[in-house]
Amino acid sequence: MRPELNQSTAICDWVTLLHDAARTGGLGLRSTHAPSRVRWQLRIGRSIRGAPVLGGETLYLASIEGTLYAVDVTVGRASWIFQGSGRAHSTPSICGPKVLFGCDDGKVYAIDHASGKKLWAASTQGEVWTSLVTRNGVGYFGCADTNFYAVDLETGTVQWKTPLGGKIYSTAYVAETQLYVGCGDGRLYSLDRANGRVLWSAQTGEAIDSSPAVAGDRVVVGSEDFYVYALDARTGAVRWKHATGLGIASSPAVSHGVAVVGSKDGYLYAIDIQSGELYWRVQAGEVVTAPPVFGQEVVCVQAAGLVAFEITTGKMVWKAGLGGAVQSAPVLSGNLIYLSSQDGEVYALE
């Protein structure tokens, strides 16, 4: 029997990429062990760029062909699919009974989690690669048409939109009164959540694809200018920045007072959020563009495969040669790990 999801969109908050700053998909910090076998494998056959998300016993993921899959994790089979009208790079998000995702043709969809039926679609003029984030019944997302949108989650009606200075491939972080989002013009913007007014913006040296994470009074984000930045959440003042070897498309995960982020130089960087001190740097693959995910004592990231590192030391504790990814991240769910790969495979590891 399918566990019921929260039926109210008014009280669901999915405030950032993969739900929370630790990128856990709303599952919290779970104890995670080295997987020893594949419980099931599902071949989608189409490349999967974004990450899967878990709601109850259903895994939701979008293939590049624009198909949203609902996979029953008890058996590893799709219980329904929904075909969007364009390619999809977006990582889905969940709000009550709705699964939300964007397509390259500018459509954003709300799909009923149980039936796979479309509840509404909103239209924009550019690609929507970002995840929709939600707070108090409103959905927020950026678009390659250079606008940032707020939509009513019940109807999909646009409440406001704010033009920014470039294309938006960064998923926003929505705090209580303001939200934060990176932009192709190299700026991190803070907008008033109520009306979209720009409160401040901070310039970096290149486009920001990375999705910001917020911890206390700090906003942490990576830039294609090779740097990780920590900005004052109220003013946008740069508190510290740390150089990596190449551009950053990975989104920082934050927990335990530490921000962990990947760089295209192939390394993961763990940095103290307050001081900017580098705790450790470790090679995770040749290129890291995906967001790390925190477990209870480990941080995991998908590069050429899935790798887990000890949070305190950066020591690699296990590696699974599955799940080559662009922007995908594992779902750490107790004894099981779910992951998707850019070559179109979905795995349940135990």
Partner: protein, 386 residues
């Protein structure tokens, strides 16, 4: 060399070209001969003065600026000066817009063929693409009529071109997944059976065949494990036709003559009017995919011309020079002891290779009339800029 080419009618009724070639260099091993290759180009295309080798056969402008790349970051202002200086030198025009107007008009739909293979360590620099877009706008081409493209959407995603290039410019990755042929014209193809593969045709991308009216080629400067070097010809041919990996199966490679033949196919030959080779970084081993910094020099160079053969000849010189400097074998090396079957060994040991490389595709393209490979006839202009 004993190359011969002849034209024959095909069953489809269109013009076809069958090409046979020997390996072109004294081999230290006995290498198999490539099979006949049939080229079925698009019908009704007439060559123009812009068709390869274009307006300036044999001319290569090499623009160097050591400060163009520092700490592995490419400088936008320096690249802007390099492109301007190089294009003025190539065309002998006084203004940048006048130089661009030699190649494109406001009514053109312009494709920019990037090389994201090897991203992020070495791929077509977004800074160079931005300057090309600025140049096209200077002659009146609207952003909506500019298409940046390559075959592999995945590699474009890794390179981050979507956010790094300006709004309005379309970015197209033809193949969203393995085996996706929906973006190709099934009537324009090269056909050969190299190794008994089941699919013996390689089709031309729709975007090149139909969508764009002009094409700016932006290859990178790299060695290549099968073809010796990548460059203008390989970026154009193997980046426009699908199903090309079948031309090399370790340790043998038939990239010569397939690369040149693909570039000779219309309308590709007529649409590729300018080549701006990104030499910000030079990969001297492990190309085209290496991410190992030890094999990637930060050089800060751009090569500009309309003759892809002359440009690739100069690139080959640069790669060979760097390999000599590093004390590793030439890309022409055909010693069996240099061959490894281990990818790991290949990626870490620059004296090893997976294939008997075949850089003779550059001379083969010369024979096809695509440009000049004779160093004595190449007008190599070296320009330094700050």
């Amino acid at each position: 060399m004993d190359r011969r080419a002849f034209v024959k009618s095909t069953l489809l009724g269109g013009p076809g070209l069958v090409f046979q070639v020997d390996q072109g260099v004294p081999a230290q091993v006995s290498l198999p001969q490539p099979p006949p290759i049939e080229v079925h180009g698009g019908a009704g295309v007439k060559a123009t003065p812009l068709s390869m080798p274009g307006l300036y056969p044999g001319r290569v402008v090499e623009v160097s600026a050591p400060q163009a790349i520092q700490s592995n970051r490419v400088s936008q202002p320096v690249v802007a000066r390099m492109i301007e200086r190089g294009l003025k030198e190539l065309t002998e025009e006084k203004s940048l817009c006048a130089a661009w107007s030699k190649f494109v008009q406001a009514t053109d739909v312009v494709g920019i063929k990037i090389n994201p293979s090897g991203a992020p360590a070495c791929c077509s620099s977004p800074e160079i693409i931005r300057e090309i877009i600025r140049g096209l706008e200077c002659v009146g081409v609207p952003k909506q009529n500019i298409v940046v493209w390559d075959r592999y959407a995945y590699e474009i995603d890794i390179g981050g071109y979507q956010s790094l290039l300006p709004p309005g410019v379309e970015i197209v990755g033809i193949e969203a997944g393995v085996g996706d042929v929906s973006g190709y014209d099934l009537n324009i193809y090269c056909e050969a059976n190299f190794f008994g593969e089941w699919e013996t045709r390689s089709y031309m991308a729709d975007v090149a065949a139909h969508r764009v009216t002009k094409l700016i080629n932006v290859p990178t400067t790299k060695d290549h494990s099968a073809s010796g070097v990548t460059g203008c010809l390989k970026n154009l041919g193997y980046g426009t036709f699908n199903n090309v990996a079948r031309s090399h199966r370790a340790p043998y490679s038939f990239t010569n003559p397939l690369i040149g033949l693909m570039c000779s196919a219309e309308p590709l030959r007529s649409k590729a009017v300018l080549h701006i080779m990104d030499g910000m970084r030079l990969v001297w081993h492990g190309g085209p995919l290496t991410q190992i910094g030890d094999f990637i020099e930060q050089v800060g160079t751009v090569f500009i011309g309309t003759d892809p053969v002359a440009l690739d000849t100069m690139e080959l010189q640069a790669v060979e020079s760097k390999r000599r400097q590093k004390g590793v074998p030439s890309v022409w090396e055909h010693n069996p002891k240099s061959i490894t079957t281990s990818n790991d060994e290949f990626f870490r040991d620059p004296s090893k290779n997976l294939f008997y490389r075949q850089p003779g595709h550059i001379q083969a393209a010369d024979k096809l009339g695509l440009g000049i490979s004779d160093l004595k006839r190449i007008d190599h202009r070296i320009v330094e800029t700050g």
